[in-house]
Symmetry: C2
């Protein structure tokens, strides 16, 4: 493969073809669960260089594993163990190409950090709403390839809904320029949405036109205590009625989830004095005034207390208090890790069924694994939950993890019976490739294979992922 | 073909296989420009029947032209002249299968009239926002197949953004059940968006899960007079800043467009006393109160008058006045028809470029066709315009129409130079099939062909449309 590597170096420059130990960080996934192998890590600086590498890989039949910030959670951005692929790292394609304030769009390269995209929009007085805990590490190309979700989906949609156009390098090394910043364009098949969420298996996203929004004039955060997920669902309906598009966040957190946080991060305090069974974090974003937002929020909480749904509530009276509430939510994952490994599920059901799902699935798990502890939290407004199962008290986490297959089966079978999704946000990658075969119809798998074969007949793009 | 028709009758019943003159209404397009030919019109009553007809068509190699309300404007829903196809009419699949109020979704069959879908949502206290003049005739399956736009896209998006899941009969006569009402679902390729906007060339949409929204508590309509499209763009920016998601309509109308309306529909009165060069219809939808909406609107108009952008404005003080303002907008197409045929363009450019586009293209047309009259109006908030060209005073419309090719070339070349779309809302159908070849890259056409060949290798679905 020396001629291949030499030609790679001729395209991107000596120092941007990494081999040997320099590759380590690119070969291991974010959660440190798997280390793959590769011929080299290649870092093009432009779409043209990426396309030239693509053509070279076609010629030498070298598989390509596209990689952004490598923050994925399903082994989608690391190579497999065979060692015949290259990792194509997009981080040098990191220019903000254009911000069109009047069109509410920006054109960015795939390797831009999400945080930089958000900051550049803010500097232009606008909002790019995609909001993920990994914003400082993940890239917009990865966000689009994985159709990232996060906490702002309720109001603004997933990454898919935030993108108007793409530039893509095809598996044949051609560049498709679909960088159109149009709200209406019915001139043929929707190629854009084929590449979004395809996890780099159909082509390489190199740039995108993103939708921007007005910055809300004011934001309000509130923390409400409730008894059940069903009460939280009812609170969501009330909040939607009063706030409509102003409701930008609605996160459910079980008491056990938050007790893990305060145990491992004692500097984070609960906003309410007494202990309750469930909590909801509400966020309102208003184009009007602080007073107007507060009046909406008071109407929501007032109705909910009248109906006996909310037992207590606190409204953040400063940005610091608001951040403290969000910190509780954002530290749940870290607290879980500190407590010891658990069995995670990234699932969604229709938001009308969340409470029923939790009740039914909790019961099934208690039946099979008595005493197992549920770390349940997530984006109730989207019907999406992090539904994680920890070992019963006194059982070592590693021992409990041996039950992972059986636990997954119970949870995913239940999700399926609620017409839900076994991967709401994180995608399929290599991790859930076998799992989707259990729940998707043969026809759906065949349709996906037809798309794959049509666009990447040599199967060079991110092999072993999704399909 | 007698055995084929006999088997069709066995599937859908004698009276739902129409031949001879009964077919006429199904063979002629909405604007009466073309009448095709077909073996029969077949009207299944269910997805299963539609799939059975699909399998039969595969066996006998009979092409299928899917048809909903047949209100399309690009000859997408009528068969060609060859006469070897059947028209598959979906109008008997007209059940509202389910409304899930807490999930803000409804599941409907493809043949439901858009108006019935909107009414069913309203009866459940919710809004299905897709808003088209043809709501009483068009079907939701057609809306999705054409990715319909309309006047509410600014706030709610196109038909594509309003759909969460689909049921599709493939060209092989299999049923893909993708009727998931999920806000987050990253389990593989986005098959849904492949079928939406594909104009029935890849499969047959038989049912859909639609997104619903809270009904706004109050709506306000205003009518503003301005000098130029550039002033209208500036007004849009001001309105966005003050209203954000509450801005649900923003329509630009040239004075000439509205003078045609008042000429041919003298019962419709202009809301403002003096004559101005451009007008904007603004609509605000607010979840709060009439007072709150009025305060927002006054802030918008106040700023715009301060900046010297708006010369005069009227706010509708009753539902009747609001309707009267919308009637002006909605009668432009009818007024054009009454005045005599003109050359229509359904185009979009980035909304920041609309004024520049109009100025540049108007100048080019005057240069080549001195005195031609522009009927320019449309959804400025989406950058989408109906940019129509009427004969110069004294020239017979039919004579001017002979210049259609040359006029199209000037307009579409200009659209292309602004990185715009030559079909913003109406699609490609048979009408613009040649036209897109001039403006799309070879690669984009090849990618579309690959998708077509992968999903419909026998090319039985709506032949001659799009590709």
């Amino acid at each position: 493969m020396q001629p291949f590597l030499d030609q790679c170096r001729a395209i991107v420059g000596e120092s941007h073809v990494i081999v040997d130990t320099g590759m380590d960080a690119f070969l291991t996934d974010w959660r440190n669960r798997f280390t793959g192998s590769a011929r080299a890590v290649v870092q093009p600086a432009s779409s043209d260089e990426a396309a030239a590498i693509g053509r070279l890989c076609c010629e030498f039949l070298v598989p390509i594993v596209p990689q952004g910030g490598n923050t994925g959670l399903v082994l989608g951005s690391v190579p497999d163990a065979r060692g015949n692929a290259i990792v194509l790292s997009l981080t040098r394609l990191n220019r903000i190409r254009e911000i069109d304030v009047l069109n509410n769009t920006m054109t960015v390269e795939a390797g831009c950090l999400l945080e930089n995209v958000r900051n550049a929009a803010a500097e232009a007085g606008l909002l790019f709403p995609l909001s993920l805990a990994s914003a400082g590490s993940c890239t917009i190309g990865g966000n689009l390839s994985a159709n990232a979700g996060g906490t702002a989906v309720l109001r603004y949609g997933n990454a898919r809904e935030l993108c108007l156009g793409l530039e893509v390098v095809t598996p044949q090394g051609e560049i498709w320029n679909g960088l159109r910043g149009l709200r209406k364009d019915n001139t043929g098949y929707d190629l854009r949405d084929i590449y979004i969420g395809a996890e780099g298996t159909l082509g390489l996203i190199t740039a995108a036109v993103l939708k921007l929004f007005p910055q809300p004039r004011t934001m309000l955060t509130a923390f409400a205590a409730l008894q059940t997920p069903a009460a939280a669902q009812r609170l969501l309906a009330i909040a939607r009625k009063h706030c409509d598009a102003a409701l930008t966040g609605f996160e459910l957190m079980s008491d056990y989830s938050l007790r893990l946080v305060t145990k491992h991060f004692p500097q984070l305090a609960m906003p309410l004095p007494a202990q309750h069974r469930q909590y909801v974090l509400l966020e309102l974003s208003d184009g009007d005034s602080q007073d107007h937002a507060m009046a909406m929020l008071e109407a929501v909480i007032g109705d909910a207390i009248d109906e006996g749904i909310v037992q207590d509530a606190a409204v953040a009276s400063s940005i610091a208090q608001s951040r403290a509430m969000w910190h509780l939510r954002e530290h749940i994952s870290l607290a879980q890790a500190a407590e010891g490994k658990n069995i995670k599920h990234d699932i969604a059901v229709p938001s009308s069924r969340v409470a029923d799902f939790i009740e039914a699935t909790d019961a099934l798990l208690q039946q099979h694994f008595p005493g197992c502890r549920m770390v349940t939290f997530g984006h109730l407004g989207d019907g999406s939950l992090h539904y994680n199962v920890s070992a019963p008290e006194g059982v070592a986490p590693d021992e409990f993890l041996r039950q992972q297959g059986a636990v997954n089966r119970i949870v995913h079978d239940s999700v399926n019976s609620f017409n839900g999704s076994i991967s709401a946000e994180h995608g399929i990658g290599a991790l859930k490739r076998g799992e989707i075969l259990l729940y998707k119809s043969d026809l759906e798998i065949r349709l996906m294979q037809k798309i794959k074969n049509a666009l990447d007949p040599l199967h060079l793009m991110n092999p072993g992922k999704i399909l």
